[in-house]
Symmetry: D2
Subunit: 309 residues, 4 copies
């Protein structure tokens, strides 16, 4: 169990405030240069594409016990085959509308999703998020997100389909997987961490998916920081161990990534098919496209990430 | 003015029903092979990325006069800096929820968006769309959408910032632009047609954006068909001339693309920055990522398209 | 267990089709004459008022297992103390928006809520309800609902705080309670049936509230029919026994009341305080105001019923 | 034009803070005693009922130019004739869901709707309303609202169908109408002020309805205060003259009623039919039921008011 003081030392080690200027809102996405994009493009060999998103429906991963109001998406029809004119030769149209939390299923946490001791990334006051939304650090500040993706398949490395509940994905684990896979996370890469947990969800077992999960331990952000990753995503809901191994702090990884590093993090990503393909030819890098929907001032980024190998 | 009979002949010319089997729901997206994806990837030179999406907010392009209920997105907060625990060292989180039509701003029309004489693409009965949504031809059948994009900058070709209202983008116009640009649309490419109309919207002028627009004429789908395009998108709201030049049929392009060809079409795309870059070095091809959010059974595809040059 | 044939005979006994004309959409609410309203008014002695509604919030009775999409209401803020002008002397306003099923909590079923063998009340085809809503028999056809209310406190009559699960409130039970209470339901009265079940909900026990409930048995509508009640409401969710005692028919009371009689029915009503007051002075009649919100073409009627003694 | 200093004197004259204790949240609704309810009941002679609510639909009074996000209600279907079982003898159900601002159409302003110089009624700090809603002074604190209603038909008194735009309904006007009608507002009555403006809306003319309206002038609250009215409502959208006749203060009536007096106010009420009936027999009092839906912590009260004569 880390004490508060020890956590604060850890937090300072990954602090990126002012690194890109006092007004910066993009954090580690600043690593996303055209060179990085080209490195991503260069990793494409076969042209195969992989969807990394959950389907959005009432059968989503929400069960009413987490954030109040974070429901599964409700999609209904505005029109069903409404004729455009009276003629039998006219055409008809159908149209729909959705009510959805921005973090209902596969998403990015915006930097405005989390505050700690009254501030967010780069020292932005927490009250820059108010009832009107994130007046700073909203998801629209992320811009386009295209990079080389690197899968770290922790489950496969451990020889299991999915890691056991509360398995701690530490910095050392990430380093070991990286080395075993013969890959190296470089500046601007986006790291996808596979625990296998999402297989519960894909099998229709939401309670199983939400049980105490294998997830990042509090020192995992050190790994992202040292590698200068642009972002990281995982195939479970909370990203990190719950409860955490830090005194008085429920979400240390959130604080380290979002608040200290300015690094957005992805949750509820579906990595099963991609991981199977990577294991086949032992290539763990790919072009990753993961630009979120630009709902202005949103603290979450609805996204349909796609990997191209 | 085309008669109904003449339109029917045109419709037969572009008919793709059964081309990919009686059960096919993906239409021209079947052209999206790994080879096509690699061709897209190969078109990346600089690594520059371009967002092609409108921002999603109450300042969107909807004005209440189109499809009933197609409002601009309403995003509100579920939580604002809610502490995770009592300790001053705890962190706090913010969260939001949106109500949005799937076709509120930048989107794909799913093949289920339109029916004609009681059927949709591949002869699927129109009543496959009901109050529960599109039980067939929903946006989830599109899968991932990654390809080479080709910009046809009609406005620049005409020497204007934006085409005049009701300018007809015919098949001949598309061919002329293609030739003048020195580019050739190939099988599986996604064609982006620029009219310049979206510049009204970007300038905050929604009424201007919605005035009678320059758009596709009814024979433009012939161009997409002959080139075997995977999809097409445009920078205005209706895609096509309103009113149309076809007797008794308000949306002939919709019928030809969605119903006859099985080709999804994109609307409200933002092409200004991309077009400026293309004009600079006269390269009109790029890697295009445009995978829609997978709301199950949706007739529209909310999407944040990104071009990479 | 009633057979289908026996049920059909029962259905004919309560059939009100054409009773108020072939075009009637109001059914037994036609009993609500000015005379009935005055009889209601005359039942007011003390002037005490009783709210019969659940609070509307995320802590409502929905748990995700019933009708897909019937969520608990989500209320969020559109504005929080937004200043109307720059001056310190200006005022500020706050505003909110809700997403709510019309049947989320305390509500009326509109006559369009239920169809049987392809028809609704008065033989209206079931397809008069389509994706646009109830083009006939929508809640707006109910008009104002003011009458004398009569409480039949079955739980108290049985000497319990709440009836045991699956207790069958039959016609005979209703008659016995009526007699024991020394009251007589008259033409146009609205009957409130108390099982005590809602006390689970009031205590915060939603699973308890939704467990197999004491409710109306299939012959209870005979009682309402013979008394010529204008409407009936109950303090549980399903109104009737689940599973029912009728072969192949899950909701016989719904069919008898809504489809055959044209009588709207109320669910999730809170009768505890009212019942306590009635028991004190043994007066079981009161003025009841229960006009639903007039969402056009809605199949359900959100309502805040109030009793005045 | 009233100066700020003059307004402050006016505000003090109507100040009800602490009148019902330092913790009171109900303000002038405290006047609603059982005696008042009985007085209301006693005013019923014929038993005729009058709906005072607008219909709730996309054709509501909102036009996108007022409060951001205050849209017209969007109602869609969750189910349309979904069979409850496989048998042809099974029944089917339909169900719907709405997205609606609480102040979209006919409503009460809760006391939390408005703050002035950082406080609300009874000195409650404005920040008691936050992103979670009105933690104090929410609409749920209103409880049941039943009283004697008194119509003051200003339009008829002026001999017009509707008052001209910007007609100022002053305290003197209200007194004159009261006297001319031969009625006297008593403690606990709810005053309904008719301008005739809602006739535009009923005729489908939303722009007309929203044009500069006849409305309350800043001294009208003095009338409500002196009479000890429990609440007041009007048949236009803003309640009061826009712009106001007070320096630097856009909504002086809101401040006087909601903040100083603790008196909820009703807007967008439909008074045409009721007024016609009152004029016929010159009886201007009636029983009024106007209990809002109890959305917890809401700043607005969706309501279907009903008058009984």
């Amino acid at each position: 169990m880390l004490t508060v003081a020890e956590f604060d030392i850890l937090a300072e080690r990954v602090n990126n405030w002012k690194r890109w200027g006092a007004e910066d809102q993009r954090g580690t996405l600043n690593f996303l240069t055209p060179d990085v994009v080209r490195r991503g493009t260069a990793s494409v060999l076969t042209g195969e594409t992989f969807s990394l998103a959950m389907s959005l429906s009432l059968n989503g991963p929400q069960n009413g016990t987490g954030v109040p109001g974070r429901i599964n998406p409700v999609r209904t029809m505005l029109a069903v085959n409404t004729p455009m004119a009276d003629s039998p030769d006219a055409c008809a149209y159908s149209d729909d509308i959705v009510v959805t939390p921005t973090q209902a299923a596969t998403h990015w946490d915006a930097l405005s999703h989390c505050s700690h001791r009254g501030v967010m990334y780069n020292g932005v006051p927490a009250d820059a998020v108010d009832a009107s939304g994130a007046t700073r650090l909203g998801i629209e500040t992320a811009g386009t997100i295209v990079s080389r993706g690197v899968l770290l398949d922790v489950a496969r490395h451990q020889g299991v389909d999915r890691l056991p509940g509360r398995f701690a994905v530490t910095r050392a684990v990430l380093e070991a997987v990286e080395e075993a896979q013969g890959v190296r996370v470089e500046e601007g890469d986006i790291v996808l961490v596979r625990t296998g947990q999402v297989s519960y969800f894909l099998a229709g077992d939401v309670p199983g998916y939400r049980r105490p999960v294998p997830a990042l331990d509090h020192d995992a952000p050190l790994f992202f920081h040292e590698r200068r990753a642009a972002a990281a995503a995982i195939d479970n809901m909370p990203m990190e161990l719950l409860p955490s191994n830090v005194e008085d702090l429920m979400l240390p990884v959130h604080v380290l990534c979002l608040v200290m590093m300015g690094m957005i993090q992805g949750q509820n990503w579906v990595l099963e098919d991609l991981a199977a393909a990577c294991a086949t030819d032992r290539r763990y890098t790919f072009l990753l496209h993961a630009t979120p929907e630009r709902f202005l001032h949103s603290t979450g980024g609805l996204v349909h990430p796609v990997a191209i190998r």
